[in-house]
Amino acid sequence: MSLIGEAAELRTGLPGAGDLRLAEPSLATVGDYLALLKPRVMSLVVFTALTGLAVAPGHMHPMIGFTALLCIAVGAGAAGALNMWYDADIDARMTRTARRPIPTGKVKPGEALAFGLTLAGFSVVTLGLLVNILAAALLAFTIFFYVVIYSMWLKRSTPQNIVIGGAAGAFPPMIGWAAATGSLSLEPVLLFLIIFFWTPPHFWALSLYRTEDYARANIPMLPVVAGDPATRQQILRYTLILVPLGVSPWLLGYAGLVYGLTAIVAGALMLVLAWQVFCERRPAERACRNLFAFSILYLFVLFAVLLVEQGWGGLIGRLLA
């Protein structure tokens, strides 16, 4: 018997072994593997990490900065691939995710698992060797948190899944800051808190007009478990916490007037949209769609202004001087 045959026989004795099927030839292309990395999520992770890295004090060689961002991007992609491996059954039942590489059969679950683990290992080790240990440790913890704490545990067991699990998406600015300074302080924690409290209104707005999708997949999202009005109330509550947090870097002196004014205006718009969601009732969903779309813009604008204003010793200040 060949080694491949023995390995296949061994796998058939393991739980979930039918999913691996590594001996079967694959038709997966490079594009399918890139789709496993969740490129859109990755771009937001890279952007927030870049902000954390750029606003951090001190000098950093551009090549080291590029290396840090590359490792953070690959680590985020690895977490995405591992999430798709574990959630393949859920993804197949949801309209939004049914065309992902694993549900469509383009990539086998075992391939996605091996791909994710390899990239996770390479990204953490490379960040540790070429940048610093603290940033690598934070990246490793972020991947662990997203895959094990969020995907494997919280997502299927509690309506607070995206509240606690949102921490995974909030870590990148802290990793960027740690990559630049080798330490942490209040400023990156504020950036963490902004993303942490931004996540629930963002995802609950989406889940309000995808409730049937989540219910079909047996995911206990808040609208499925607590109902529509309770979710709209929670969105408003979290937005009320988010808006002052968004302004806080300016109030505490970490950001300038341009950031402060932007945060106030964008925060006011965010509150108006959250209030409209609170007042709206099913089957209407326009306010939910508006809030979901604007929340992406809100986070992007806040971090972009902070990046331009404070990044690399204050770009705006240097241009005006």
Partner: protein, 60 residues
């Protein structure tokens, strides 16, 4: 018997014969892996040059 004949016979015995589409997909994946490994080597080389001798100083 040449190595090719031995491998072909073994492949037929195992029942795994790649189609043209599978061969193309495998080739594109192999090229991507090679490029990624090459990029990693270049990355380590450049960062070592950038950091200089301090690259050997690694306090825990």
């Amino acid at each position: 018997m040449t190595l090719d004949i031995v491998m072909n016979k073994k492949s037929q015995d195992d029942g795994i014969v790649l189609t043209e589409a599978q061969k193309r997909a495998r080739r594109s994946r192999s090229i991507a892996i090679a490029l990624a490994l090459g990029a990693l080597v270049i990355l380590f080389y450049i960062v070592t040059l950038v950091k200089g001798p301090i690259v050997l100083v690694r306090p825990i």
